[in-house]
Amino acid sequence: MCERRSWRAGAACLVATFAAQTALAQSTVEYAKRVDSLTAVWRVAVAAQVRADSERVRRLPLDTIREGNLIVLSDSAYATLAKATAAIVSSELERSYGSWAARMRTHILVVRRPARRWVVDDSSTVESGVASADGRVLMPSSTFASTEALSAAWRRQAEVALSSDLTPALREWLGVATRSDPVTARTLAAGRVDLVLSRSRAAHDCALGTIASCSRALDLVAVNEPAFTLFDERERRDLIQWYSFVLRLREPSKYARCTAGQQAACDSLIRSMPADVIPRPVSPAVRLNFVRYALLIGGEGAFDRLANTEGTVADRVAAAARMPIDSAVTRWQANLMSSASSSTTMDAATAVSSLFWACLCGALALRSSRWR
């Protein structure tokens, strides 16, 4: 096989060599000129495209629609759609975020004709986003030109915009944007899956009912040596394995001893890691679940208290829930682990369709004419 390949490669080289020799110098110059002229045309075209794009970006729609806390810049063609959608989204945001939703007045929404269309006269899609101070459209997304689709896009954009106004510490702790959809038992129960499947001892202990571990897993209390407090020995070895590409270069002897099974060397390696590379014990989904539970039990004005209370993240969540943080954590853990679990193995649709097919095949068997 190798012989055949090398033979083919040799033949290709031979052909290429002869082909190059037969090319005339005049032709080469001619081709070079053509390439240069094409490059010049291409550069002009790219510059024109960039200019057109930037002009389009700066040319935000002129129609301004005010509905509740929302201000929308809209193309005239979409003004009715924008007004109807803004009415829906504004009331939803107010219900979820309370007076914090008024901050949407500083985040102006945009709805306009999409930049590129598959069909020239296609009006089924629109581009939406949030206008930045310099006139650009942030978080642009293309959606169907319907109130349902546009309100879903605006909800997502508003969630990100309103979350970006939270204090950096709270934002960094959360790790994800807050959600505006109503909290239900089902959405809260989904957090159980995230907590149980978290790969840290603290999360595991929390799931089993140790409330102090929940506070540590949720990063509500300061922890000394997080790698040793939140993770067990096996998880720490996984961590070393994960960062092996750095550790084996930086600490070769320790790494070798650790892989040989010396626990002291592994511990030393872990201690040598910067604090910010130690992963958090639970995913942002779990922390968001906890916050959403706190907002639910906190009732009226919960989000405002979360956003405006001075102090640590724990203080803010406690204020939102209107109870001490330990009580909030205890209630959240109990609610999470006692939430109804349902099997994904069997559902009614599968049962019904199976019965249908079984009856159909059975009926066909009865109609068979083998000995009629």
Binding site: L208, T344, T345, S353, A358, W371
Partner: protein, 220 residues
Amino acid sequence: MTGKPTRWRALFETQWKWTRSVLLLISLTTFAIPLLSLRSSVGARDESLFISSMQTWAVAYAFAAAGVGLLTAMLAWAYDHRLRHVYALSLPIERWRYALMRFTAGITLIALPIATLLVGAEIVAHSALVPKTLHSYPIALTLRFTFAALVAYSVFFAISSATARTAGYILAAIGLMFALNIVLRAAGSRIDLPGYLTDLFLAAPGLLAVFGGRWMLVDV
């Protein structure tokens, strides 16, 4: 209660004689699968890996269900085919009634491997080896197995009871579909007939959809 057995019971007893050795073997298998899946998953490093390990046994449940259906259905008709339906023709009943009795007798026989699966799954569900943070769903798994076995049994029962001509029609239809697909492709069409047919059978609510999906005895 009379001493003379009913016609259905007589048929059931003959079917039991034909299938009992195979059924007992499959029942033993269905009892063992949950226990083996637990044994292979114990010692998993965390809950996620435990669930993944349990999930790898899904194919065993699906094969067992298909096997139960196939063997019970084939054996239900085996002697009739071999004896050229002389026994059935000698009975003073319509053909459909006879086939119905065979069909229901087979369904009753399927209950045995289903019951042993339930026992095996319940043992796993009550085992201390399952992590406390996870839930066991022995009933849901047994239900899925039941429906899968029922579908497999019905399909193979219908195939076994059909004539050679019917089988020919089915094969011809499949061949025609492939030929039509080649013609459509040659004509530049984007219609994917085999793809549609696969979806019809395998995607919910298709004929074989119950065999796919998640067969989770233990889940979050």
